[in-house]
Symmetry: C2
Subunit: 360 residues, 2 copies
């Protein structure tokens, strides 16, 4: 399906140049991102890593799956000094996690034909001077798309956030917000496997059903239909919350603080309800951190990628034995990427949002 | 100086009953506490622990020093369920930390003549059915009032909060708010002893001078004269803050979050700026917890009193060798207690606020 659009002279002969469809980031965004903040365009690319010295670790991908992740919103504004990730460059393609096949490589660790997951571009083909985050796909007896979710960055996020940050113990009361999403569905299941009581919140009846019937949460509620989040939490947690896995922030965090138990822990993973606001909402109940000796800890999954092999050892058997359920939501083709990405902030995704399936 | 006002028949003969001046808590308070929320009154007390069975661990104090502490404000409202401390009882004397002499005891661990510090009443004499928090005074070669401060609860607070919660390392950038107070002045000095760069904020020029010239802080500012707290922190911490010892909350916390470094730690000790507000202020910059992987941890000193002997081993030599400075502010007599207590919330105290010196 490679459309050769030109041939160009290369260091070692003629090299095919093909069409490369791309999702271009137009300009910094304020408020909710819109599809029109991105634009599908075409350029061309030679399917060979250049000979030049700055490509000594170069690698060329064909992208198979692209991952739509909420943190990408934070890259649509000028970078916060000291933050962990670059902003998108207006006029250039978006970048993010994906699953890809190596078409050419001058990097010693990767060779043509390798299947990988890691940082790539929102385009059909991506040429990198050197890979930023890149893992070889260790097991192809599961759908490749899983490496954008349960076996990739979001899976690692659930793992690190729950086991390393929450210090969970059997029998504890665990609350997860954005619970049906890529990260939340796994956190809830990890907590159930450990013998915790687990409640999740999500934004539709369908998602609440998933939580209770597919992911085995003990209880779940639709936060959009609860006039009083504090009351909803008190109903689900008459004894209070030991662990809160924070994906949402804002009003939910405020209500949770009122319901934490002494020596509770909050894994600060994300605050998606705040990403599109000019000024973030104020959180009022922080005194409860002191009164109840709460620990809140922020984490960024990429700090813990050295744990990936340990994570796989734990999760791969659980997937194969059917002990962990996984739901993903796939948008077909690169063109559908912008809508899928934007849809995260309206809760349109049901489960992990993936794009670009068509090109597999 | 005991004024015998009556003699009463006791189990073993006549027992003197004496005047007992008390500070009575009138009723729950909203907004800033006022002197008139308390009332000095007189009752009488027999200077003997009763023979009755429920006094089997009874103990009778003559109070020497009473401690004015900000957390007492939280006891002036109905208790928050699950909170660590009871509320005051309207119509009864306030209670709190103090230094006392044992006049009579049926408790096996204490005998007449012992000097102690711990929980007592805001009155001349206090009779307890059993002590709540009580330590024998281990060393009388320092002023006894120190056991309301540097050698008592606030000293332990600084110790636990800094060494146990902040995970401090030599060379780190440390910020302390309410820095000239009982807790803050010690935290700053502990951080200096460890080789940290230390900045404090306080509410007057006099206090800023104390911080720089008496307590050896590297830098200090008067937060009341800074129109922009973020800018003040950026001026003092061009490289950002590794450790924030949080005594104040609200706007200061919001500004600090903007200036934290990656993997910074915040010991949530107190939020005095919020104690008198009907609705606490909103804190907006919590996303920085995630972006910079910050750990915020609340603590309550009384959870860590088992560390008191270890703390004394560290601090007593430092006091005697003059390696730690200590400033206290003493109000004379029980009658001055309400004004001294209320003054904490206007920053009238310079250093640790003590009351009732006169009765020593
Ligand atoms: N710290 C890290 O390293 C790290 C790594 C990955 C992800 N994260 C964070 O983890 C969280 C979940 O990520 P994910 O990949 O699993 O995404 P996801 O849950 O699959 O998708 C986002 C979901 O968030 C919910 N949402 C959107 N706007 C909301 C709002 N205003 N209030 C409440 N919920 C809202 C929507 O579900 P509903 O229908 O339920 O509203 C939406 O489906 C995000 O905050 C993300 O930034 C952090
Ligand atoms: N977690 C625990 O176990 C524990 C134990 C003890 C104390 N604490 C907390 O530690 C903090 C300090 O206590 P402390 O005993 O050392 O008291 P302190 O600092 O000796 O006295 C309180 C000081 O707070 C400052 N202050 C008052 N209102 C303020 C406001 N609106 N904004 C900013 N600063 C304000 C004033 O100083 P300025 O002139 O600088 O404004 C005042 O002198 C308090 O928050 C207290 O609740 C916690």
């Amino acid at each position: 399906m490679i459309a050769v659009i030109a041939t160009m002279p290369g260091g070692d002969g003629e090299v095919a140049a093909v069409r490369n469809k791309q999702v271009i980031f137009r300009d910094y965004v304020t408020g909710f991102p819109k599809e029109s903040d991105m634009q599908v365009a075409e350029s061309s690319i030679q399917l060979k890593v250049p000979e030049a010295e700055d490509y000594n670790n170069g690698i060329l991908f064909k992208n198979l799956y692209l991952s739509c992740d909420p943190y990408m919103r934070n890259r649509m504004r000028p970078a916060i000094p000291g933050a962990y990730v670059d902003s998108f460059v207006p006029g250039s393609p978006l970048s993010g996690y994906g699953v890809a096949k190596v078409l050419d490589s001058r990097h010693p660790d990767y060779k043509k034909g390798d299947l990988v997951w890691g940082f790539t571009g929102w385009e059909e083909y991506t040429l990198l001077k050197s890979p930023l985050v890149l893992f070889k796909i260790p097991d192809t007896n599961v759908p490749l798309s899983y490496y954008t979710g349960i076996l990739g960055m979001p899976g690692m996020t659930a793992y690190v956030g729950f086991y390393e940050i929450c210090s969970p113990k059997k029998g504890e009361y665990v609350f997860v917000s954005a619970a049906s999403g890529a990260v939340g569905q796994l956190v809830g299941q990890f907590a159930k496997l450990l013998g915790c009581y687990v409640v999740g919140s999500a934004g539709s009846k369908e998602k609440v059903d998933l939580l209770k019937n597919k992911f085995g949460f003990d209880e779940a509620f639709n936060y959009k239909e609860e006039p009083d989040l504090d009351a909803a939490l008190k109903r689900c947690f008459p004894e209070g919350i030991d662990i809160y896995f924070e994906n949402v922030g804002g009003k939910m965090l405020d209500a949770v603080l009122l319901n934490m138990r002494v020596r509770g822990r909050i894994a600060a993973c994300g605050m998606i309800s705040q990403y599109n606001l000019g000024q973030p909402e104020g959180v009022h109940n922080l005194m409860h951190i002191i009164l109840k000796r709460i620990r809140i800890e922020g984490f960024i999954v990429s700090d813990s990628y050295h744990l990936y092999p340990k994570f796989l050892e734990m999760i791969l058997p659980k997937i194969k034995e059917g002990k962990i359920a996984y739901v993903e939501d796939t948008a077909e083709g690169l063109e559908s990427g912008p809508a899928a990405l934007v849809g995260l902030f309206a809760g349109r995704n049901v489960g992990k949002q993936v794009a670009l399936k068509k090109y597999v």
